[in-house]
């Protein structure tokens, strides 16, 4: 089996780029990644690509070159980017391929999605009475968590404040203006306890990563972080997921907890080894809960850790150093790859203006509907 390294990384700025299709943002990211390593499209032996709302990913091929490359479209809900990475990781680890690319892009319409109850296997009345909103799910999950573990609304505001502060230092971020915690707390309430600044928005963007075996990497004279472990896991009984008219009284682990444990085990590292982490922050509360679900702290410790600034740049464990989904938005096909892109930049010492000193181990986790999570752990 081969060791797998990420030797090149490219990104198209996230946010809103009027006049440029999602596909073109994906192509832009691929070209950036190729330029990063000085290679051409014809050098890629495989590609895995995903897009949720901007067409088929392999529509990139006529633009990049019809080289006959193995191109596989990946669709796995909100964890599409993480799943593309995992697919590329296996392709090289198995010894079948030496070098290839994983990519994703998206361009979502403005505002929240219009879910269809029947497409989710739910009765129509559930949508009729106004209970089919993703925003409600996030609010319900954090509201209970706050009550169980003593997390305050100020902590939610501080998470968003940090996101916008980090976003202001990140060229690929969308929200680049700092917003203070008081403004965040007093902003329009959307679904208690979450105000409008505490939610991320659907957006646009593209990201691409070039993966290579250690042998190929040396042959080409390249360098890059090694993928120590990567895992995707789905929901089990007792997991709390979006659009659930009922829940089991006996609670179970979340898909994030399962994916996280599997990735730590593969990587042979412990949560205390992590130097920088990018974790799913669909809204402020998700970041708080995912800190514990990823083993980065115990339930309830977030209140003090966040108040003490330990998750900010300069803290003990900087989280979402590029502003996360809150500052970058969430283009589904690209979002998980953005997290890994940011870790690659951090581990290569290229995160100018937001660099975590001596970053050696980077952790990323993307979570979403209908209840799945993808984790990747990298070492510099």
């Amino acid at each position: 089996m081969s060791e797998v390294h990420i030797v090149g990384a490219g990104i198209h700025p996230f946010g809103r780029t009027d006049g440029r299709s999602g596909l073109d943002q994906g192509i832009y990211a691929v070209r950036e990644a190729l330029a990063d390593v000085g290679l051409e499209w014809k050098d890629m032996q495989f590609a895995f690509g995903g897009s949720s709302a901007a067409g088929s990913a392999d529509a990139m091929l006529p633009h990049l070159g019809l080289t006959g490359v193995q191109f596989i479209n990946v669709a796995n809900g909100c964890a599409t980017g993480g799943s593309s990475l995992l697919s590329g990781y296996w392709a090289i680890k198995s010894g079948e391929f030496d070098i290839g690319i994983v990519t994703g892009f998206d361009k979502h319409p403005r505002g929240a999605f219009n879910p269809d109850p029947e497409a989710s296997g739910l009765p129509r009345w559930y949508g009729d009475v106004g209970m089919m909103l993703t925003t409600q799910f996030f609010a319900l999950k954090i509201q209970r968590y706050m009550s169980l573990y003593g997390i305050t609304p100020m902590t939610l505001a501080r998470v968003a404040e940090k996101a916008f502060e980090n976003g202001s230092k990140t060229p690929h971020a969308w929200r680049r203006e700092p917003v203070d915690a008081k403004t965040i707390l007093q902003a329009q309430m959307l679904s208690d306890p979450l105000t409008k600044y505490m939610f991320c928005s659907p957006a646009e963007g593209g990201a691409a990563l070039i993966l290579a075996s250690d042998k190929k990497m040396r042959e080409l004279g390249l360098k890059g972080p090694r993928v120590l472990g990567a895992a995707v896991r789905t929901r089990v009984n007792g997991s709390f997921e979006v659009f659930s008219p009922s829940l089991d009284i006996e609670r179970g682990p979340s898909p994030t907890e399962i994916a996280s444990k599997a990735a730590y085990e593969m990587a042979g590292v412990a949560p205390t080894d992590i130097d920088v982490a990018q974790i799913q922050d669909t809204e402020s509360g998700a970041e708080v809960m995912h800190m514990a679900e990823n083993g980065l702290c115990q339930n309830g410790e977030q209140e003090k850790l966040i108040a003490d600034g330990e998750t900010r740049l300069g803290g003990k464990l900087p989280i979402n150093t590029d502003g996360g989904c809150l500052a970058c938005g969430e283009p589904i096909g690209a979002s998980g790859l953005r997290q890994v892109y940011e870790n690659v930049q951090q581990l290569r010492g290229r995160a100018e203006g937001r660099q975590v000193e001596n970053a050696n181990i980077g952790y990323s986790q993307v979570y979403g509907a209908p209840g799945l999570s993808a984790v990747a752990i990298l070492a510099a």
Partner: protein, 147 residues
């Protein structure tokens, strides 16, 4: 609402779906499904072939508030079918209620003051009319704090 008034109302306004709730001698109940293989209780009972694996179970009409939120903006239509519009929309509470020994169900919540809601407080089921955008009124279910 007295039992006879509830029954009268149900006669006027058809339930928003079949097999969702019933009004028994001791008041209204949601109808859940108990999986024959392992006893897992769900709400509502799955439809179609999956439903064959379940038997109907009368759910407790009282439980404890498990979590809640307030829907502050009018949900998008579709799927929302409320008769209100952007101007007349009134924020509403919703949440999960744990029915002891059975299941945790999601429900709209009726409460005079949102600030009264506290996780763990006792809640009771009620059947209420729901005015739809298509001019029809159906009966729906809510939970209310036990006075």
């Amino acid at each position: 609402m007295s039992l006879s008034a509830a029954a009268a109302q149900e006669a006027d306004t058809p339930p928003m779906a079949a097999n969702l709730f019933e009004i028994a001698a001791d008041g209204p109940h949601l109808i859940g499904g108990r999986r024959k293989s392992d006893g897992r209780v769900v709400f509502p009972t799955p439809s179609g072939a999956e439903g064959q694996k379940y038997e109907a179970v009368k759910l407790a009409s009282e439980g404890k508030l498990w979590s809640y939120t307030i829907q502050r903006f009018r949900p998008k239509s579709p799927p929302y079918m409320g008769a209100d519009d952007e101007k007349t929309f009134q924020p509403f509470a919703l949440g999960y209620i744990e029915l002891p020994g059975q299941v945790i169900v999601e429900s709209r919540i009726e409460v005079d003051t949102f600030a009264r809601l506290k996780i763990g407080m006792p809640m009771r089921l009620a059947i209420v009319p729901f005015a739809r955008a298509d001019g029809k009124t159906v009966s729906s279910y809510v939970f209310r704090p036990v006075q």
